[in-house]
Symmetry: C2
Subunit: 329 residues, 2 copies
């Protein structure tokens, strides 16, 4: 620790603060300390490791939104695997903020979790390197980490969006709209790419007015839905990029005057089968995502040292009615 | 600590394990240690308290089921209040097990959370006394704690069920079924009491076949729904005791052959307004429950020492169609 402090030009207390994820250290100083740690290969001392062993084993799960029902079965699956391994699960939410993700992850490490399952909000995870070196196991779910190598479990966002869009085209649609999440979110751009490739494979041009990436708040999604349904070249079908978006589009279509509009959603959601028409989706299996990630994590905690693994889980097309409507003209 | 060890007839290490919520202590021994702690008024030493202050402030939230969407807005509201106070939120689930609730609460205390918001699974919370004495603030939500005094924020379960049942009776129903959660859950028995009082106030007898408390898994709820809809005195309306139950009843009624059955649910749920018929509910405000509980918690952390408060939030009747159907005969 003395060497780290000397190299970073700070006091021992500051190094300790950074290592323990405490507040009161400027971003700049923290960066210098982390660089020194990485350069010197510093590890936590043994007494810290022993303390960890004396306690109930625990793993942390960092989500991006506590209120998104997509994460409910994922969280429960991680919890079930943790319980089967005699470990407690503690959760936190990054609220889609990279700073908050880092703050939360380091706070959980300071509270001596043995491992972490992370749905990343940020795209630079080098801040985790000292923790991983100190023995914390890390697995990423839904999105890949940035600038570090680690186990990743994802759904086939590209393939799912491509298959869902092709399904709409197979029912005769030529003007299909795509409503997605913010462009810095990997799954959003992967799904847009799947939509574009499906259109291209059918030889169909994509009018710029038919695609929209951005926040998934109901106001924006409703306004974009209305916009795509009007104007000189309105869409006859919509692809909604995640379950929050789909639910808003369903509400908007229920209030829409005019002929029925076809809809495919990415992600299944509760009661989709009881709506009028029932909503067709390309479904991820969030429980399987969580289960797989947690099992990978416990393999690492059991000492398996194979290179980082990248797993992609298939999606499943569920045809219920809304995606099989033919174009109204 | 020596005095506690002597009084309990155990070693210092055992006392430390109990205080830190570690494993490897028998229930009996833990009980003896806790009694000795209570008797002697033991408090954590100051160095532990100082450590706590040096770190990012954090509060814990203990839910009973990560997969119940009722808790999503509640969790997010607690998180928003925590963030406004510069604190992190870490969550965990008791999975409706008193043992797991205690294990999780003590593990969070051992990880030095400053306060806890708890939806209790158990009915004996004396295990929290040493933590509260050591300065951890605790607020309960949705259900009251057992054998300790603490702040509690609840919805008016009794009043909501009574009003919802009376609403069905006002539309002409005389045979109303009640489907509730397990009888050891306070909210389940409070809601049953509200149903019974509404029936009694209208001078209506309650056939034992019309009420059913138990686990809310879809298999049991579906079977009980079907049972109440058949036989010599079938119900013409149903009151579903929480959102998980209502969703299952909606599915069962959609598949049901015969005249339409009226339905009121306790708790609102997503897309209720787009079903056929739209589902009427008596709605709690889970975000307001979470917000109120978190604000009470931060008042305690700010040093407010008033006696424990018991707050009851009102429910709101939302008439959408299913609860206004008249009896079919």
């Amino acid at each position: 620790m003395k060497d780290v402090a000397a190299r970073a030009g700070v006091g021992l207390k500051t190094v300790s603060r950074v290592v323990n994820g405490e507040q009161g250290v400027s971003v700049d100083t923290e960066h210098r300390v982390r660089e020194a740690i990485t350069a010197l290969g510093f590890r936590r001392n043994d007494s810290a490791r022993t303390l960890r062993k004396g306690r109930t084993a625990s793993i942390g799960l960092v989500l991006e939104d506590l209120a998104d029902p997509f994460y409910a079965p994922l969280s429960r699956a991680v919890e079930e695997v943790a319980r089967a391994h005699g470990a407690l699960l503690i959760n936190g939410s990054s609220a889609e903020s990279p700073e908050r993700e880092q703050e939360l992850v380091l706070a959980l490490c300071a509270r001596r979790v043995d491992g972490l399952v992370i749905i990343p909000a940020g795209d630079d995870h080098r801040y985790l390197t000292p923790e991983i070196d100190a023995g914390v196991a890390v697995t990423f779910v839904d999105r890949a980490p940035g600038l570090i190598e680690a186990d990743v479990v994802r759904s086939d966002s590209y393939g799912g969006a491509r298959e869902g869009t092709a399904h709409l085209l197979a029912h005769g649609h030529r003007r299909v709209g795509f409503l997605g999440d913010q462009p810095h979110i990997q799954t959003a751009t992967e799904r847009l790419r799947g939509y574009r490739d499906a259109m291209a494979e059918s030889g169909l041009p994509v009018d710029p007015a038919w695609t929209s990436l951005g926040p998934t708040d109901p106001e924006r999604i409703s306004a974009e839905t209305r916009r795509m349904l009007t104007g000189p070249r309105p869409v006859t079908a919509l692809f909604a990029g995640n379950n929050r978006t789909t639910v808003t589009v369903v509400r908007e279509l229920a209030a829409h005057q005019g002929p029925p509009v076809a809809l495919m959603g990415f992600d299944d959601f509760e009661l989709a089968e009881l709506l009028t028409p029932p909503v067709s989706v390309v479904a991820q299996d969030p429980a399987q995502l969580g289960r797989t990630a947690a099992e990978l994590l416990f393999r690492r905690l059991d000492g398996v040292t194979e290179p980082p693994r990248q797993l992609t889980l298939p999606i499943r097309l569920v045809a219920r009615g809304s995606g099989e409507l033919h174009p109204y003209e």
